[in-house]
């Protein structure tokens, strides 16, 4: 039995890989699936081109995994393609190096006529010097995590959410079990091996293993705009920096990101000056950016591994990942950590990690995830029903079908995440929730839903979003009389 700590992309990937090898596995998360970085990322299925110059290993891994994921999980990946645009302000020497890097990593980059790019995408700056297409895609993180979790369960694995792992026990220098705190109290799980896939929390979990590892945490800010402004990913061709990618994610467009070192694994509060800086950078590629309808801002924390070298900035820390056998260092036998990497490379990270775990457990079955196929979720029932969330067209039956907390209802259905940011559905969902789970406190729930939305809206109060927020305030205080409870 193996316990995987962390149900983000990486931990789910490891549990899935092991389950498919026939290993008994439980993946544990302190909150819901994807409430760490894997639910707070940019949504880009990297072609590898971004790392072509600075990080050749990551570039090649991304290229291979990008191609694989398209077949493994076609339902959660959109084959948008992407372009790299060099503006007249960017270094032409980088273009040469970039083309060489793509060539070396096997990433197909095809030159485009800058004039034609301008004509097709008139919002892109007129200062295009050159442009190339690359096989970027869009990765629907929550959707893919759901598919993986379903397949884990289908292979006799267990996904245990809302349990915080607080201790790892050893017997004679070997991992023997973990202790986790959940809503029903403490649980003890016996296991033969433990995998630390705790993302930004990996440093803390490594301490539980008695073998600290050096992490380099930094957070990135992303701005989400209404509407799919482009049919494909737009990257700026320069050394990876801030505010240089626009990703069309379903019906919205996400601009990101930034890179600011921090100590805490928790996603931080948003700083106003950072928002303005990201807008300034975004305008260099899209001069009309101010006229776009901003919806909200959010942050995610990069779980990069510092290894033995000390990089000057986290952009220089490799996006390559590292699998650590703690027994080879100062830790117990049967303890492994997987750190760094990208969402795009989660399957490869899982394969390498599981190979090591399987070796330790003397399991000979090989990794089969590269050949696996993850299905699509069942189609929606068509019985006519009232819509509770009009922006995302969510009905009561969609919500009832999801197991878990109200936040899991939200991330599974996307209710309250559209242009009105919960103005018209937060109270309706609270009422439904109250009907299904009468023991939950509805006042607390509506406060929580409002606070969750306000966190993302308040840092970007301009234009139509400020207007929406003014309406939301009036609805909350004047028509629902939420005033005294907030």
């Amino acid at each position: 039995m193996v316990v995987v700590i962390g149900a983000g992309a990486t931990g789910l990937g490891v549990a899935w890989d092991l389950a498919l090898r026939g290993v008994e596995v439980t993946v544990i998360d302190q909150s819901g699936i994807g409430f760490g970085t894997s639910g707070r990322f940019h949504g880009l299925l990297h072609s590898g081109a971004r790392y072509a110059v600075t990080d050749p290993t990551a570039a090649q891994d991304c290229r291979e995994e990008n191609a694989r994921l398209r077949t493994i999980a076609s339902g959660a990946i959109e084959d948008t393609g992407g372009i790299f645009v060099r503006t007249q302000d960017d270094d032409p020497a980088f273009e040469t190096a970039w083309l060489e890097g793509c060539n070396r990593a096997g990433i197909p980059a095809t030159r485009l006529d800058p004039q034609k790019v301008r004509m097709r995408y008139p919002e892109v700056t007129g200062r295009i010097a050159s442009a190339y297409t690359v096989p970027d895609g869009v990765l629907e993180g929550f959707h893919l995590m759901q598919l993986v979790a379903q397949d884990i369960t289908a292979h006799q694995g267990t996904v245990l959410t809302h349990h915080h792992v607080s201790a790892v026990t050893t017997v004679d220098g070997r991992v023997a079990g973990v202790t986790a705190e959940g809503p029903g109290g403490q649980v003890h799980l016996h296991c033969d091996a433990v995998v630390n896939a705790a993302g930004p929390w990996a440093g803390r979990v490594a301490e539980l293993l008695g073998d600290p590892i050096p992490m380099h945490l930094s957070y990135g800010l992303m701005l989400l705009f209404a509407q799919r402004k482009f049919p494909l990913v737009i990257n700026r061709m320069k050394a990876p920096g801030d505010g240089d990618i626009f990703v069309p994610h379903q019906r919205v467009t996400i601009l990101g990101t930034t890179d600011i070192a921090q100590d805490s694994p928790e996603a931080p509060a948003i700083v106003q000056s950072e928002v303005e800086r990201l807008m300034t950078l975004g305008r260099e590629l899209i001069p009309s950016l101010d006229s776009w309808r901003v919806l909200r801002a959010f942050t995610g924390v990069r779980p990069l591994y510092e290894g033995e070298t000390h990089a000057a900035s986290s952009r220089e820390v490799s996006r390559d990942f590292k699998v650590i056998d703690h027994h080879a260092r100062h830790g117990p036998a049967g303890a492994f950590s997987v750190v760094g990497g990208k969402w795009t490379t989660f399957r490869l990270m899982a394969e390498r990690t599981s190979d090591m775990v399987a070796g330790y457990l003397k399991v000979s079955s090989p990794c089969v995830t590269a050949e696996a196929r993850l299905g699509s979720p069942p189609a929606k029932m068509a019985a006519p029903e009232s819509v509770l969330c009009e922006c995302e067209r969510v009905c009561a039956s969609d919500l009832r079908a999801v197991k878990g907390s109200v936040d899991e209802w939200r991330t599974a259905t996307w209710f309250s995440m559209g242009p009105c940011q919960g103005t018209f559905c937060a109270h309706r969902v609270t009422a439904l929730r109250h009907a299904v789970f009468p023991e939950e406190d509805p006042d607390e729930m509506i406060r929580h839903l409002r606070a969750e939305r306000a966190k993302g809206m308040i840092p970007v109060l301009w234009g139509a979003n400020a207007r929406e927020y003014a309406l939301q305030q009036a609805v909350r205080f004047q028509t629902l009389e939420e005033g005294e409870s907030l």
Binding site: Q272, E276, M279, D290, P384, E385, S386, V387, L388, C395, T423, F424, H427, R428, T430, A431, H434, A435, P442, I446, A454, I458, P459, V460, L461, W462, G463, A466, R467, Y469, A470, L471, Q473, A474, V475, R476, F477, Q478, T479, L480, E481, E482, G483
Partner: protein, 395 residues
């Protein structure tokens, strides 16, 4: 004849237009969209009078603009008169104390002047909630539970099934159109008759505010007859039929009295009295009353750098440095900003926060009065009661 242009079509603009017409001036209303009335139930509030308020006028001393009690009283009477002339069923006598209505989430909300279709009481009492299956904002079970929890008063509820015509596209306005139709009213009468034996005698029956757009009085009377209980509506979040009815009737009344309504976006309002529209139209009037609302109404805009812009006069009025909840009262301008011929009223005025203070009605009355009075367009109340000095701003 003095020619006045009012920019906006929200409650402030309509109140201003009524006063301007009553004083015998020519009035043009120009607005880009329909204003905020269709978003709320149209119960004009002033300063959340909670508990026993034997003299509600005393509360008005706490408003950002201080007017004499006599002025407040005659302003409220003007509003009630204009509404009644337009056929809106507001009481003849102003209430002497604050009232409560009930929201769709079962909260008690303080209100003041309430049209007869809406439920309002001085204190919590037992009520029977009726939810409509298929109307997302009528959540009777939840509403009833919350009402009992927050008031400690007895209540009960039932939910009536959808009519056969229902489809998932039915919003509040479609429901109201259905109830206005003979078939719809019949359906509702029968559905309520079926549950009325369960309802304790004397308990008011509360239904969502979708009981018709054109004939709510007739419909509610019919339901009252059918059930033998007093039947009232409780207000819903936007779009709100209460506000729509008030707007429909008030606008129609103003049109009949000769007010011209123009649709268009004003891009410039100048001290010379010149108005320019986005589509190229322009004209001059003797006075411009800017009732273009706040951030929601469109009179104010926030740019990416946090600056607050006046969209008509192209000026920066301030900026938000630390992004936090919109503090409405911090921006906007005063009617008395010194510019001749142009004056501001309604939600754009600085110093008011109707969300926090539940005084949206007082805001409209006081700022419109202040603006029109400054322009010398109206005098409210007994002759001599209005002087420049009585209109002062409390900082």
């Amino acid at each position: 004849m003095t020619r006045v242009t009012v920019v906006g079509q929200g409650p402030a603009a309509l109140f201003a237009a009524s006063l301007i017409r009553e004083a015998g001036h020519e009035c043009i209303i120009v607005s880009e969209s329909e204003g905020s009335l269709p978003l709320w139930s149209g119960t004009f509030d002033f300063h959340a009078p909670v508990g026993d308020v034997s003299n509600p006028w005393s509360l008005l001393d706490n408003q950002p603009i201080s007017l004499s009690g006599q002025e407040w009283k005659s302003l409220w009477e003007s509003l009630a008169r204009f509404e009644r002339e337009a056929g809106i069923p507001v009481p003849d006598l102003l209430p002497s104390r604050g009232l409560f209505t009930i929201t769709c989430t079962g909260r008690e909300k303080p209100v003041f002047m309430v049209p007869a279709w809406q439920y309002a009481q001085e204190a919590a009492q037992p009520v029977w909630f009726v939810g409509f299956d298929g109307l997302a904002d009528s959540m009777a079970a939840f509403q009833c539970g919350a009402y009992q929890k927050h008031t400690g008063v007895e209540a009960n509820y039932c939910e009536i099934p959808k009519p056969s015509k229902w489809t998932p596209t039915w919003g509040a306005v479609r429901w109201a159109a259905y109830v206005d139709s003979d078939g719809g009213l019949d359906w509702l009468k029968r559905a309520l008759q079926k549950v009325s034996p369960d309802i304790p005698p004397g308990w008011p029956v509360l239904v969502p505010q979708v009981i018709g757009r054109k004939f709510p009085e007739r419909n509610l009377r019919a339901l009252q007859m059918a059930t033998g209980h007093p039947v009232f509506e409780y207000p819903l979040p936007p779009p709100s039929l209460g506000g729509m009815r008030i707007r429909d009737r008030w606008v129609w009344n103003l049109k009949q009295s000769g007010v011209q309504f123009l649709a268009g976006r004003v891009t410039l309002a100048e001290p010379s009295g010149q108005i320019s529209l986005e589509d190229g139209r322009e004209w001059r009037s003797d006075h411009i009353i800017v009732a273009s609302g706040g951030i929601l109404g469109g009179g104010l805009e926030i740019s990416v750098d946090g600056k607050v812009h006046d969209t008509l006069r192209k000026e920066v009025l301030g900026s938000i440095t630390v992004r936090q909840d919109l503090q409405m009262q911090e921006w906007g301008r005063l009617a008395d900003d010194g510019t001749p011929r142009i004056t501001t009223c309604g939600a754009q005025c600085r110093g008011w926060n109707p969300n926090r203070d539940s005084n949206g009605g007082a805001l409209i009355l006081a700022t419109v009065f202040q603006g029109l009075n400054r322009e010398g367009l109206v005098a409210v109340g007994p002759p001599g009661a209005v002087s420049e000095r009585s209109v002062s701003h409390v900082e």
